[in-house]
């Protein structure tokens, strides 16, 4: 493989690998934190121990996930300096500034209250603990916001001029609230919530299928599914709106996502390729299965709306096509699958509402298996979405302004090969271990901890872990 002999490509591959591994963890952290906050608040309000047990169970899943998310995030921050030095120097005035905001406003807030959230049950009052949990929620949500500010600015850079290889900021607010930010933030934030609800529904389905802890997981299952009835279609709508916006902000990316080569003439609709074999060398699809006018309809919401084709861009300005095209379709399929699961289940619940019991839901084995399958589907959708977004941005590191090849640090081939391989081996080991321990927690099931008594004396000779209850 020639590409593996190219340090620039390896730096890209390394960043892609770090990002793809990292993004497996924060979505569940963000979404589950919100769910946990809701459960904990309900417990404090109702004093019903059921909600306390729910809180504690999901916190155990949260904990494994959080740690891996933190340690896999740090390498990404440092990668900008190590592998993307020229990009960092050119864009630091804005991009670095925003990452600085993220670290101080979001990461520290999360970290500063996380210890209390995880281990402080018997050390602070119920209200204080709830406050700590809500600060973790605020911190993680703010981190989604700031990271999407930084990332969306790379997609639709606004408020800056690119002069002599450096981005000069003219308008801070325009750069922060760049055209892509709204779609980017909401699509990612809702993805976090959707994925977390799917994990709750899928894990609950696993217990229902095993006929274990039914009184504990049936309510969790129903609640998660009902929320998903609203969330899954909402996410598809946001995605559709984001796609429409691409036509104005990143037309080459849109054309690559759809393997759409030729701009449709006025008065004629553009066809949507359901599947295709695109060929960049020949600048056309070798084979395609299309639906007439559908692309115009999807993008412009009119049968004859103009959609710019890839051939309007010089080949050196075109993004790769295969990955964005297929990754987008996989994401879409996963999203539709989750929405259909939610609707199907909601319909069953509604139909059976008078005789809704664990018998008739637990007997529907295919429904429960479907929800377990929805867990990998949710993760797949997130991964594919990011691939569409970042590979579709190529060949630019800052869309339309700075090319990726001008942002990379010059490094010896062997050095990047070594670091890439090291990260790969470490992450593989961690991924396997985390999976194993998640399974371990699931096999154990809820621990039904005794509720805290809010002992004021915190100087008891105990270790913090002992308060964690496991």
């Amino acid at each position: 493989m020639d590409m593996l002999q190219n340090p620039e490509f390896l730096s890209r591959l390394q960043f892609a690998f770090l990002a793809m591994f990292h993004i497996l963890w924060p979505p569940l952290t963000v979404g589950l934190a919100i769910i946990i906050l809701g459960l904990e608040a309900t417990w404090l309000k109702t004093k019903n121990i059921f909600y306390y047990h729910q809180t504690r169970f999901w916190i155990r899943i949260f904990m494994i996930n959080f740690g891996v998310g933190v340690i896999s995030g740090i390498p990404m921050e440092f990668s900008f300096g190590t592998n993307w030095g020229p990009f960092s120097i050119a864009s630091g005035d804005f991009f670095g500034n925003i990452l600085g905001f993220e670290t101080a406003m979001a990461f520290m807030l999360e970290a500063g209250f996380l210890g209390i959230m995880l281990f402080g049950w018997n050390r602070v009052s119920g209200r204080m603990h709830l406050f700590a949990t809500s600060m973790v929620v605020l911190g993680s949500t703010l981190s989604v916001f700031w990271i999407m500010v930084a990332n969306s600015w790379m997609q639709t850079p606004a408020g800056v001029e690119y002069v002599n290889g450096k981005f000069i900021i003219n308008d801070y607010l325009a750069a922060v609230f760049n055209p892509d930010l709204g779609h980017a933030f909401w699509h990612m934030f809702i993805a976090c919530i959707e994925l977390s609800l799917v994990v709750v529904a899928g894990v609950s389905a696993y217990y229902l299928l095993k006929q274990r802890e039914i009184d504990f997981f049936l309510p969790a299952f129903k609640l998660a599914v009902l929320a998903l009835v609203i969330i899954t279609p909402l996410q598809i709508l946001i995605g559709d709106s984001a796609g429409g916006a691409l036509a104005h902000t990143q037309p080459a990316k849109l054309a690559a996502i759809e393997a759409h080569w030729e701009t449709n003439p006025p008065g004629e609709g553009a066809a949507w390729a359901v599947l295709a074999i695109p060929d960049a060398a020949k600048q056309r699809n070798l084979w395609e299965w299309t639906i007439p006018d559908a692309l115009s309809l999807i993008v412009t919401h009119s049968f004859t709306g103009t959609v710019v084709g890839l051939r309007d861009f010089k080949p050196e300005d075109q993004p790769p096509i295969w990955i964005p095209f297929y990754a987008f379709r996989i994401m879409l399929a996963a999203g539709v699958f989750m929405a259909l699961m939610a609707l199907w289940t909601a319909w069953l619940l509604w139909r059976n509402k008078t005789r809704m019991s664990h018998e008739n839901i637990s007997q529907n084995k295919w429904l429960l298996r479907g929800w377990i399958l929805a867990i990998p589907a949710a993760y797949l959708a997130v991964e594919m979405g990011w691939m569409v977004r970042e590979i579709g941005r190529q060949p630019w590191i800052v869309y339309g302004m700075m090319r990726t090849q001008h942002g990379v640090s010059e490094l010896p081939l062997a050095t990047v090969q070594w670091s890439l391989l090291s990260f790969f081996v470490f992450y593989l080991a961690i991924g396997i271990a985390a999976f194993y321990f998640m399974r371990h927690v699931l096999r154990q099931g809820p621990a039904y901890e005794a509720a805290p008594k809010y002992i004021k004396n915190k100087n008891r000779p105990m270790s913090p872990m002992n308060d964690g209850g496991y």
Partner: protein
């Protein structure tokens, strides 16, 4: 343009950011210093139960401690992009090794608590800590060695950070962090484990003094500009104060250890770190990369520095406040001989 004039707002802002990042870095070095140091010491923990106690004593705070470095990274990136893009590039290998060390020790915390194979994750925690500390030593040594920069890009070799000098820095950092770790253990534990920590602290304090002395003498010898700054009057009196203050702290540290005091050793070692750090920053200033880049050259434009100051500057007391709160929630002695409740 006079780089030293304080009626130059850009220079003033750049100096403020140099100081703020220095403050964040010293928070990091002290806070993660003791938990990394305890990680190193955990490799020679007397038994598995004590190792478990050592790890769980920082289970609730290590994440916040490490986050100070994340903040250093983020603010350095924004306020001094030129430094971020050249120094990290030049220190590619030590930085990568540090990250791998962080990964190893970070996951070990969690997996240790969940796993039945405690020893495996305990050793991974110790080795990860050691790796991160060695890498930080090489990064600091490499920075003090100088980073070769031409036309605003790193042009040196990927192994420039490796030298006899940086090796001395590594040994000094290992010893220093271990002292911090041991002194934290003295503060936190009772019984046999505390006695063990006293013994460790005495040994590593000696080594720390030895290597700190070598590095303190060697650093100015590498840079005529620093040498000149130190040994011209009246600067000499000001600069001589820092090593003298550090020596005094070493004396007090040894005395506190001999008297088996519980809090004092931690505080004296903390002050040693502070004086060393201030000495280093004062020697470098106005350079941020010694001999290559001054803070004015590296700093982002005035509007960025102001925007960041508005966003982050006001948060500094808030961040400090809730970190102190979290520490206070988990304050108090731990008896490592009490039966563990890990399942």
């Amino acid at each position: 343009m006079d780089a030293f004039s304080l009626d130059n707002p850009h220079h003033l802002l750049a100096s403020i950011w140099f100081a703020i990042i220095g403050l964040f870095l010293i928070f990091y070095v002290i806070l993660d210093g003791f938990d990394l140091g305890m990680g190193i010491l955990s490799l020679a923990a007397p038994n598995e139960q004590y190792r478990g106690a050592m790890m769980s004593s920082i289970g609730s705070i290590w994440d916040a401690n490490e986050t100070w470095l994340v903040i250093v990274g983020g603010t350095l990136f924004g306020a001094f992009p030129l430094v971020y893009g050249t120094v990290l590039h030049g220190l590619y290998i030590p930085i990568t090794l540090m990250l791998l060390g962080f990964i190893m020790r970070g996951v070990s915390f969690e997996f240790y608590a969940l796993s039945s194979r405690k020893k495996l994750w305990g050793i991974a925690f110790g080795l990860g800590s050691l790796l991160a500390v060695i890498a930080q030593g090489f990064a600091l040594g490499g920075l003090l060695n100088g980073i070769k920069i031409e036309n605003g890009l790193f042009t040196g070799d990927v192994f420039d950070w490796f030298s006899p000098f940086s090796l001395m820095v590594v040994l000094g950092v290992i010893a220093g962090y271990s002292v911090m770790g041991a002194n934290y253990m003295i503060l936190k534990f009772t019984g046999e484990l505390q006695k063990h920590a006293y013994a460790r602290s005495k040994i590593f304090s000696g080594w720390m003094l030895f290597f700190a002395g070598i590095v303190t003498i060697w650093t100015p010898l590498q840079y005529p500009s620093i040498l000149e700054r130190w040994f011209t009057l009246p600067n000499f009196f000001a600069f001589a104060l820092l090593p003298l203050a550090a020596l005094f702290c070493f004396y007090m540290l040894f005395r506190a250890l001999a008297r088996c005091e519980e809090r004092a050793p931690f505080i004296w070692s903390l002050l040693i770190f502070m004086f060393s750090f201030i000495g280093l920053a004062a020697s470098l200033f106005p350079y941020i990369v010694p001999g290559a880049i001054t803070i004015d050259q590296a700093a982002a434009p005035t509007n960025t520095l102001v925007f960041m100051l508005l966003g982050i500057g006001m948060l500094i007391p808030v961040m400090i406040a809730y970190n102190i709160y979290q520490y206070s929630v988990f304050s108090g002695k731990i008896n490592p001989d009490a039966p563990s409740h890990h399942d």
